[in-house]
């Protein structure tokens, strides 16, 4: 389906549909879901270079006054998902706050919050990451102290207490026993392994929001709590209508039972440029995903503002043309690609898809930096 500019998405939304907004300005990711009829679900958060928050931009524009945010979920405590958590808590006052913790003793997540955050680091971005997470955790802890029952443990088997009758939200990962063990033993594993995977069900429509859950570690070894285990428990997740590709499209998060062959589905990627995670143009990157799904929607190109392409309708970029978006002028190597997040406005790096309850996508809207990769 051809997309139209986000400016064309009317206010109010057509609330017979389920709207999924995916924001990803190049560093960070946030998802806002407008439930049919009434109510919102917010997952994680990101910011643009000016410090403004795409999710607040979305809520400001399309959320009706007094409309509740049913839940705010912090799928895992990484900066690129924790930007603006406090802002959403303060401005949207979500009814519930979810994070990965033990359902039997949810406070364990706070006790496990280590002073390692204060450990010295020479990496400025790492320092910032710790502080953004610290702020998010302070805000969540405050809410927990005031109303412990408002805290949701995001573990496999949990269902979000939405007041909405037609939509169900299930947590499909991580495994509760693993979470308890990790948090109580203060195991210093990669927090991505504790990423909460959420499945939204609206009639026959299934949307899978994959967070940052990986399948293998950086050496390619299968992770016991990764996608392999999740799909063993919930094989149906591969049969979906919308998928927020996990971990920004990292090859380490690829799993053939999730990213199955099919057509007519919406796959979103919020690029993350740091480290070795961007799905570049290699065979295990975007081309593989495009081959499986026919197209993949990216929220932005990871380029500085000066080099940021604004995609005109239909905003389709062929796989073969991808390198020209990423490749940078580098004095050392011809195969370098840019990893600098674009300097964008809050709604520039956003995709929105509207689904009915029969699995049909009724519309797709995009910010000016968002585009679709096609074969």
């Amino acid at each position: 389906m051809a997309s139209v500019a986000l400016d064309g998405l009317g206010v109010p939304l057509d609330r017979s549909l389920l709207h999924v907004f995916v924001a990803g300005p190049g560093y960070g990711e946030g998802i806002a879901v407008a439930l049919p009829d009434r109510g919102w679900l917010v997952m994680d958060g990101c910011r643009v270079a000016t410090g403004r928050l795409p999710l607040l931009g979305i809520l400001d524009r399309w959320r009706a006054p007094e409309e509740p945010v049913e839940a705010l979920l912090l799928t895992h405590p990484h900066t690129d998902h924790a930007f603006g958590i406090r802002d959403v808590i303060e401005t949207a006052v979500p009814r519930h706050i979810g994070l990965t913790t033990s359902p039997s003793s949810p406070a364990v997540v706070f006790a496990a919050f280590e002073a390692e955050l204060a450990a010295a680091s020479a990496d400025s971005l790492e320092q910032l990451r710790r502080r953004v997470v610290l702020e998010a955790m302070l805000a969540i802890r405050r809410r927990f102290d005031a109303a412990p029952g408002d805290l949701l443990a995001l573990v496999d088997g949990a269902q979000l207490p939405l007041t909405h009758r037609h939509v169900s939200a299930f947590v499909r990962a991580p495994d509760a026993a693993l979470v308890h063990r990790r948090l109580t033993e203060r195991h210093r594993g990669d927090p991505n392994e504790l990423s909460a995977v959420v499945e939204l069900v609206f009639g026959a429509t299934r949307i899978v929001l994959g967070s940052d859950l990986p399948a293998v570690d950086s050496h390619g070894a299968l992770l016991p709590a990764g996608w392999h285990a999740v799909l063993k428990r919930h094989r149906h997740l591969g049969d979906h209508h919308g998928l927020k590709i996990p971990h920004h499209g990292s090859p380490a998060a690829f799993h053939p039972d999730l990213m199955t062959v099919g057509r007519g589905r919406t796959w979103w990627i919020s690029p993350f440029n740091r480290g070795k995670r961007l799905p570049p143009t290699g065979p295990d990157g975007l081309p593989r995903l495009v081959a499986l799904n026919g197209e993949v929607s990216l929220t932005a190109t990871p380029r500085a503002r000066a080099a940021q392409p604004v995609h005109l309708d239909p905003a389709m970029v062929r796989v073969a043309d991808l390198p020209s978006l990423f490749t940078a002028a580098n004095p050392f190597r011809p195969d370098a690609f840019s990893v600098t997040p674009p300097a964008v406005e809050p709604l520039d790096a956003v995709w929105c898809g509207a689904f009915d309850d029969r699995g049909t996508l009724h519309g797709a809207w995009r910010g000016v930096c968002a585009f679709v990769v096609v074969p």
Partner: protein, 658 residues
């Protein structure tokens, strides 16, 4: 030891003038006296001629100083018990009552103001200073009351006076040194000093001359004591460092705020008889009662690195001494002298540590200030924050709420990880009551940044700067406000990852202070480094790399290799390494970071290390002929350490209130 006969004669003339002035109804006099000009001598002479009420405030750094002043007034007015009877007393109301009684009795009041420390305002003395100034204003506004204020030239006096007089300090030459009054080594030292002064024509103030004699007695050569007061005091401290027992005796003398009778000196200080003149004639002075000038006390106490046990021991000894003179556990019913001794006892008990705790608890506090003094000691010296909080709470319960108690209740509860609501209440009250107090505003804003809402924190900041420095005059005049307000607020924003807010606060500070003041400079470095990394999407420099050095020149690469010029270079960081490949980011310009992947062999050639060992920051250089080289860059630590912030905030997430 000093023959000040001629100076005393000139003082008598001044006393005559003062006496005349103070006989005019409602006279308000300011006497600006230089250090060492003999303020106490002047008052003593005046007292022999008039029925004066003398209010001699302790130091601005002593929180009980205003109470001390009030008790001196009240006992002189014969209304101490009336003052104590008033429910939930207010210092200024009580001052007014006493002043009215003294005016009715037609008794002039002479106020000896504490000597302020040089330099910008300090939190340690700001409250006392303000309260004493307020008390002084009450006295001066009492129309019929005659008041003379003796202050140093640099003491802030805001009120209008009917007359202002100046007193200069005398200069002592060889002729004024009377060695015969001193025994043994000290007599010899005085002679040596006189000889040297005569030879060189050196002149000292009386305070300096006394220290000079003491230093010579301790072994200094006369040529080595041709110094001004501060330098002499530092030299004295060095000398005392060789004589621990004598050093303890000196500490005790310095901590005694009131004159000590000569005959009690040995018992009170523990000084050995041969060294007694050092205390009674060199550091202290006086014929029957020995006092130490406040300036000498300040500089010596600052320079003496006194251990806490030694300080506590000295306070305990002094408390014992004053207890022998008051024999009471409350102020009620005491006459002037006993009341002063009781106040001194409580002061020393409150600072005397564990061995004084029981006795301190037995005393009925006469005012907030006595509780504050103990609370501050528990908090600042012992870090017993919970106990300190209890003291401030008791103060509020006993005397009613006040901004100082509520602020430090909050401050100590915050450190003791008390309930956020209680902390909020305390900070909020103090901030609302004293909107111009930068320290209290700063802590209130910092609390809100971490535990309030963003909107509250930002509004509190705007409110604070509007009150404290509405037109930016103070910020432009000196870096003081930026260091006491902006620095702390920006730091807290940074500690919660709010770069834009931190930047906004720092933007208010003139560029000059950001460059000249190391704390501010380091903070700007951290903020800018994080902004840079965020915009770039990567860190390619260690956080501590000075901004000016970034992208200006390589730090680890040589400009030539084998005679070949470097043609390109970029800072970078390893983001992933395995035995097969190394993925790095490099930023040839500050505008864009780029990712590259090298196979293991290429990396080994570039960096001279196995791929799996690749780590950290580096520089990648390219030389004529195509050779490329990778060299590691040491990771400097972060400059403005935020450990303090994090040590306060992290426990708010991972621990529970006790």
């Amino acid at each position: 030891m000093l023959d000040l006969w001629s100076y005393k004669a000139s003082l008598k003339e001044r006393v005559g003038v003062l006496e005349k002035e103070l006989q005019r109804p409602g006279a308000k006099l300011a006497i600006r006296a230089a250090i060492g000009a003999g303020r106490h001598m002047l008052v003593s002479l005046l007292s022999t001629r008039m029925d004066l009420v003398v209010v001699d405030f302790p130091s601005f750094e002593d929180l009980d100083a205003p109470l001390h002043g009030l008790v001196q007034l009240s006992t002189s007015a014969g209304m101490l018990d009336t003052t104590l009877d008033v429910d939930r007393r207010d210092l200024l109301d009580d001052t007014k009552l006493a002043a009215q009684a003294l005016a009715d009795a037609n008794r002039p009041v002479v106020v000896l103001m504490p000597v302020p420390r040089a330099g910008p305002p300090r939190e340690a003395d700001a409250t006392t200073r303000r309260r004493i100034e307020q008390m002084l204003a009450v006295l001066l506004q009492m129309r019929p009351l005659c008041v003379a204020v003796l202050a140093t030239r640099h003491t802030r006096l805001r009120e209008e006076f009917t007359r202002e007089l100046e007193l200069t300090a005398p200069r002592i030459g060889a002729a004024q040194i009377d060695a015969s009054q001193l025994p043994g080594d000290f007599g010899a030292a005085a002679k040596e000093l006189a000889t040297w002064m005569a030879r060189t024509g050196w002149a000292s103030t009386p305070l300096e001359a006394r220290l000079q004699v003491g230093l010579i007695a301790l072994g200094e050569q006369p040529e080595g004591v041709g110094l001004r007061l501060d330098a002499l005091a530092r030299k004295m401290v060095r000398q005392l460092g060789h004589r621990p027992a004598l050093s303890v005796a000196v500490q005790r003398l310095l901590l005694a705020r009131r004159a000590v009778p000569v005959e009690k000196m040995s018992a009170m200080s523990g000084v050995e008889p041969p060294w007694q003149p050092l205390l009674t004639a060199c550091i202290g002075y006086g014929d029957e009662n020995v006092r130490v000038s406040e300036v000498t006390r300040q500089v010596l106490l600052d320079a003496l690195k006194v251990t806490r046990p030694a300080l506590e021991d000295a306070h305990a000894t002094l408390a014992q001494y004053h207890e022998s003179l008051d024999g009471a556990s409350s102020l009620r019913g005491l006459g002037h002298e006993r009341a002063i001794n009781w106040l001194e006892k409580v002061h020393h008990l409150s600072l005397g540590g564990a061995k004084c705790a029981a006795l301190w608890n037995q005393q009925a506090p006469a005012g907030r200030e006595q509780l504050w003094e103990h609370g501050r000691y528990l908090s600042r010296e012992l870090h017993h924050f919970r106990d300190a909080a209890r003291i401030y709470q008791r103060c509020i319960d006993t005397f009613g709420n006040d901004p100082y108690s509520s602020h430090y209740l909050a401050y100590n509860l915050e450190r003791a990880r008390g309930e956020l609501e209680d902390i909020r209440r305390g900070y909020a009250h103090a901030a609302a009551e004293e909107p111009e107090n930068p320290w209290w505003q700063q802590r209130w804003i910092r609390f809100l940044i971490a535990h309030g809402s963003l909107a509250e924190a930002r509004a509190a900041w705007q409110h604070a700067i509007r009150f404290i420095d509405p037109d930016g005059t103070r910020l432009r005049a000196s870096p003081w406000l930026a260091l006491n307000l902006h620095f702390w607020v920006a730091r807290r924003w940074l500690a919660v990852g709010r770069l834009e807010d931190a930047r906004e606060v720092l933007t208010e500070v003139p560029e000059r202070w950001l460059e000249e003041e190391s704390e501010l400079r380091d903070l700007v470095q951290v903020v800018t480094a994080q902004e840079q990394a965020l915009a770039l999407g990567e860190s390619v420099y260690p956080a501590g790399t000075p901004l000016a050095d970034r992208w200006s020149r390589p730090r680890s690469l040589r400009p030539t290799r084998s005679g070949r010029q470097m043609v390109a270079w970029a800072p970078g960081r390893v983001v992933d390494a395995s035995s097969n490949a190394v993925t790095v980011v490099v930023a040839p310009t500050p505008d864009e970071a780029q990712q590259l992947t090298f196979d293991a062999e290429t990396w080994r050639q570039l960096a001279g290390e196995p791929a799996e060992d690749a780590d950290g920051f580096f520089e990648l250089g390219s030389y004529e002929g195509g050779e490329q080289v990778v060299r590691p860059v040491p990771a400097d630590g972060e400059r403005a350490s935020l450990e303090l912030e994090e040590s306060e905030l992290v426990p708010r997430v991972n621990t529970w209130p006790r």
